[in-house]
C-alpha cells in the first residue's frame, strides 16, 4: 500500500509542478524585464537576463510620489477590508435565516453582481458628489465597502456550521451579533481569509474609480501612478514591470498571511461536527 501511496504522491507533485510552471512563465518574464531594460520584442527572445540591475525599482520610487500613493492605498484598503468583513458577515448571516422576501433579496444581490462598473461611472460620480465624498478616502472606499461574492462566501461558511452549535448558543442567551462573533466566525476562518484577501486585492488594484474620483494628486492611489510608466515617447517597459511587481507585493503578502486558513491540516485534528 505504501508504494501506491508514494506513486500517488509523486503523480500529484508532478501535476502540480506542471501547473506551477505554466503559471510562472509569464512571471519570469515580468521579473526579467523588471531587472533589465531590454527590448522585450527583440528576436530571438533571450532566456537569461543580461546585466541585471535594480535601478528600475529605484526609478519607480522617484518617478511618482510613491510614498504618498502607498499611504493612500493602504488607508483605503484598510477601510475596505474592515468594512467588508463586518458588512459581509452580517449580510451573510442574515441570508442564512428564512424571512419573507428572502428570495427577492437573494435575487437582488445576484443581480447587483451583474452590473458592470464601466456602466455606472457617471451616476456613481454624481452620487458620490452629492454625498460630498469627492476626493476623500471614504469616497474612494465607498463602492467597495461590500461585495456580493464575499457575502455568499460567508453565507456558505455559516450554513456549514451545525445548527446544534447555533441553537445551543441561542439557548445560552447569546444575542444574534454575539452568535456571529463568538460562534460562527471562529469556525469560518477560511471565509474570513477569503474576504480579507479578495477585498484587499480589489481595493488595492482599483484603477478606474480612483481615476474619476480624485482630482488632487495627493489623494491618488498607487495604480494611478501607472500613467507615468506608459509614456509613448520612451520605452519604459522595465520600469513599468518593476512598478507592477511593487504593486503586486502587498497583495501577495496579504495572501500569504491569510492562506494558512485555506487549508485545514489533517494532522491538526480540527474537525467540524
Amino acid at each position: 500500500m505504501t508504494t501506491m501511496r508514494r506513486r500517488g504522491t509523486y503523480l500529484r507533485h508532478a501535476a502540480l509542478v506542471g501547473v506551477s510552471a505554466i503559471m510562472l512563465v509569464p512571471f519570469y518574464w515580468v521579473l526579467k524585464t523588471a531587472v533589465t531594460n531590454e527590448n522585450i520584442y527583440a528576436y530571438p527572445p533571450r532566456l537569461l537576463p543580461e546585466r541585471p540591475h535594480l535601478f528600475n525599482f529605484v526609478d519607480v520610487w522617484y518617478f511618482i510620489p510613491f510614498p504618498r500613493y502607498l499611504l493612500n492605498s493602504v488607508i483605503v484598503s484598510a477601510i475596505v477590508v474592515a468594512c467588508n468583513i463586518a458588512f459581509n458577515a452580517m449580510a451573510g448571516y442574515a441570508l442564512t435565516k428564512n424571512f419573507p422576501g428572502k428570495r427577492a433579496v437573494l435575487l437582488l444581490f445576484l443581480s447587483c453582481m451583474l452590473i458592470p462598473f464601466q456602466a455606472t461611472i457617471i451616476p456613481a460620480y454624481l452620487i458620490t458628489s452629492k454625498l460630498g465624498l469627492l476626493n476623500s478616502y471614504v469616497g474612494l472606499a465607498f463602492p467597495l465597502l461590500s461585495t456580493i461574492v464575499c457575502i455568499f462566501v460567508f453565507k456558505a461558511a455559516f450554513e456549514a456550521v451545525p445548527h446544534s452549535l447555533v441553537d445551543a448558543a441561542r439557548i445560552d442567551g447569546l444575542s444574534e451579533w454575539r452568535i456571529i462573533v463568538r460562534v460562527l466566525m471562529p469556525l469560518s476562518k477560511a471565509a474570513i481569509a477569503t474576504n480579507v484577501v479578495l477585498a484587499f486585492i480589489w481595493s488595492w488594484n482599483a484603477f478606474l474609480w480612483p481615476l474619476i474620483i480624485t482630482r488632487e494628486p495627493t489623494m491618488q492611489t498607487l495604480p494611478l501612478g501607472l500613467a507615468r510608466f506608459l509614456s509613448y515617447l520612451e520605452d519604459t517597459t522595465g520600469a513599468l514591470y518593476a512598478f507592477a511587481v511593487m504593486v503586486l507585493a502587498p497583495s501577495i503578502f496579504v495572501f500569504l498571511m491569510a492562506q494558512r486558513e485555506f487549508i485545514r491540516g489533517l494532522t491538526s485534528g480540527a474537525t467540524k461536527g
Binding site: 527583440a42 474619476i212 482630482r215 509613448y232 520605452d235
Partner: protein, 415 residues
C-alpha cells in the same frame, strides 16, 4: 431731509462695501488645466504656472494630467457633473467632437478681437479645429505623418531615393521584402493611413461632409493592391492590426523598409532601434506631400467659471510656454515665430531631428484625414473595421467598401 439714521446706515454701508471690495478682488480665482500625457514635463509646466500666477495675484492654477485613453472618461464625467477643467488639451479630432457636443467655448470672437494672438499660429494647423467655421482650439503642439525609411535596406535593394508615387511605394516595398523583412509599415489609428488613399485622388466624404464618396473603382483597386501586398508580406500586417508600440517596435527592430507615421514615432524608434543614426534613417514626405495631422490643441470649456482668465492662460501657454515646450520635447508648436527659432537652433545641434520637424511645417496645405466632423469617432468606427476586413483578406475590397459606405452613410444621416 436725510435722517441721521439713513446717513449712518448708508455711511456704514459705504464703508462696509469699501472694505469688502478688496476682499472680493482677493478671493482666489482658480482655473484647472488638463493635459494629455505629458507628466514627464512636470517641472516645465509647474514653471509656467508659477510665472503665470506671479503676475496675477489671487489666481490659482490646478494642473491635471491624464493618459490618452483616460481623458474621455475623466472629461465626460466631469462634464456630466458640471465641473469640467477650464483649459483642456485634446489630441486629434477629439477637440472637434467636444466642440460639436457644445462642451467648448467658441474662440472665434476672441481671436477676431486679438489679431496678434491669431496670426502667431500657422493658419493651416489652426484650422484643424475649426468646426462649422468657428475656431475652438489653439495649437499646443502639432504633428503630421511623414515617411521614414531604412537607408541600408534601401541600398541593399538597389533603391536610391524614397518613392514619389503610390506605385513606387509598392514597388520599392516589394523589392525590399524577404523572408525576414517587409517593405512598408504604416500606423492606422486616427486616419493616419489616409494619405495612401489621398495620393490616389480618393476622398472620404463630399465637400459638405454629407455623403460618403470613397466607394469608387479607384478606391477598390487601391484597397485590393494593399490587401495583396499585405498578404505577400510586402506590407507588414501590423500596419492594420497594431497601434503604436508594435508598428514602431517593428521598424525599430530594423527589418522594415519604410514607416509611415507622424513625427513622435521618431523618438520611440530611436529609443528602441540601435541601427538609427542620421546616416541610416531617411526622412521624406509621403508622395504628393499628403499627410494626416495628429495635433494637440488647447481649448476652453464652455462651463468654465473664469473664461477670461482661461483665455489669458491659453495665450500664455501657447506663446510664452511654447518656446520651452518646443525645445524640451523637440517638437513643433504651431507658433510660427517659436518654431522658426527652434528649428534654426536644431539645424545646428541635431540635423536629423531638424529634418524631421521641418517636414511638419512643409506642405501644410496638403493635410488630409482631418474632416471637420462632430462625429469623427462614429464615422471612423463605421469605416475602419470594414476597411480592415478588406486589407486583411477577410472580405474582398468591393464588398467591404460597399458595406463601409452603407454604414458611414447611416452615421452621417444620424448627424
Amino acid at each position: 431731509m436725510i435722517s441721521r439714521r439713513t446717513l449712518l446706515k448708508s455711511g456704514t454701508g459705504a464703508v462696509v462695501s469699501a472694505l469688502a471690495m478688496p476682499a472680493i478682488a482677493q478671493a482666489p480665482k482658480k482655473i484647472s488645466f488638463l493635459t494629455w500625457n505629458i507628466i514627464d514635463q512636470e517641472p516645465m509646466i509647474r514653471g509656467w504656472i508659477a510665472r503665470f500666477v506671479k503676475d496675477r495675484p489671487g489666481v490659482e492654477v490646478e494642473w491635471l494630467d491624464k493618459k490618452g485613453p483616460e481623458i474621455p472618461v475623466f472629461y465626460q464625467t466631469q462634464l456630466a457633473a458640471g465641473t469640467p477643467p477650464d483649459v483642456i488639451n485634446t489630441q486629434g479630432a477629439l477637440g472637434l467632437e467636444y466642440a460639436a457636443q457644445g462642451a467648448l467655448l467658441d474662440l472665434t470672437p476672441r481671436l477676431k478681437a486679438d489679431a496678434a494672438a491669431r496670426d502667431r499660429f500657422n493658419a493651416d494647423y489652426l484650422s484643424n479645429w475649426a468646426y462649422e467655421g468657428n475656431n475652438y482650439m489653439l495649437p499646443f503642439y502639432i504633428t503630421k505623418t511623414l515617411l521614414f525609411y531604412n537607408k541600408p535596406l534601401f541600398q541593399k535593394a538597389g533603391l536610391s531615393a524614397p518613392p514619389h508615387s503610390f506605385d513606387a511605394i509598392l514597388d520599392a516595398a516589394q523589392k525590399m521584402t524577404t523572408a525576414d523583412a517587409s517593405g512598408f509599415l504604416t500606423l492606422n489609428f486616427d486616419w493616419l493611413y489616409w494619405p495612401l488613399y489621398a495620393m490616389n485622388g480618393i476622398d472620404l466624404l463630399s465637400k459638405d461632409l454629407a455623403k460618403p464618396t470613397f466607394n469608387t473603382p479607384k478606391a477598390i483597386e487601391v484597397t485590393d493592391r494593399l490587401a495583396k501586398a499585405t498578404e505577400a508580406g510586402t506590407i507588414n500586417k501590423i500596419s492594420w492590426t497594431g497601434r503604436w508600440v508594435e508598428p514602431n517596435g517593428a521598424f525599430a527592430a530594423g527589418n522594415v523598409g519604410m514607416l509611415h507615421a507622424h513625427s513622435p514615432a521618431y523618438f520611440f524608434v530611436k529609443g528602441q532601434g540601435k541601427w538609427v543614426t542620421p546616416e541610416t534613417l531617411g526622412v521624406a514626405h509621403a508622395p504628393g506631400g499628403f499627410a494626416t495631422p495628429n495635433s494637440h490643441g488647447l481649448g476652453i470649456s464652455k462651463a468654465s467659471k473664469n473664461p477670461d482668465l482661461a483665455w489669458d492662460f491659453l495665450k500664455f501657454v501657447t506663446n510664452e510656454g511654447a518656446q520651452e515646450l518646443g525645445v524640451n520635447r523637440k517638437l513643433v508648436t504651431g507658433n510660427i515665430a517659436v518654431d522658426n527659432k527652434n528649428l534654426a537652433d536644431l539645424e545646428k545641434t541635431d540635423p536629423l531631428v531638424y529634418s524631421i520637424l521641418k517636414t511638419q511645417l512643409e506642405h501644410t496645405d496638403k493635410m488630409v484625414g482631418n474632416w471637420r466632423l462632430g462625429n469623427d469617432s462614429k464615422v471612423k468606427e463605421a469605416f475602419w473595421p470594414e476597411l480592415q476586413n478588406a486589407l486583411l483578406g477577410r472580405k474582398d475590397a468591393k464588398t467591404a467598401l460597399a458595406d463601409a459606405e452603407r454604414k458611414v452613410a447611416r452615421e452621417l444621416k444620424r448627424g
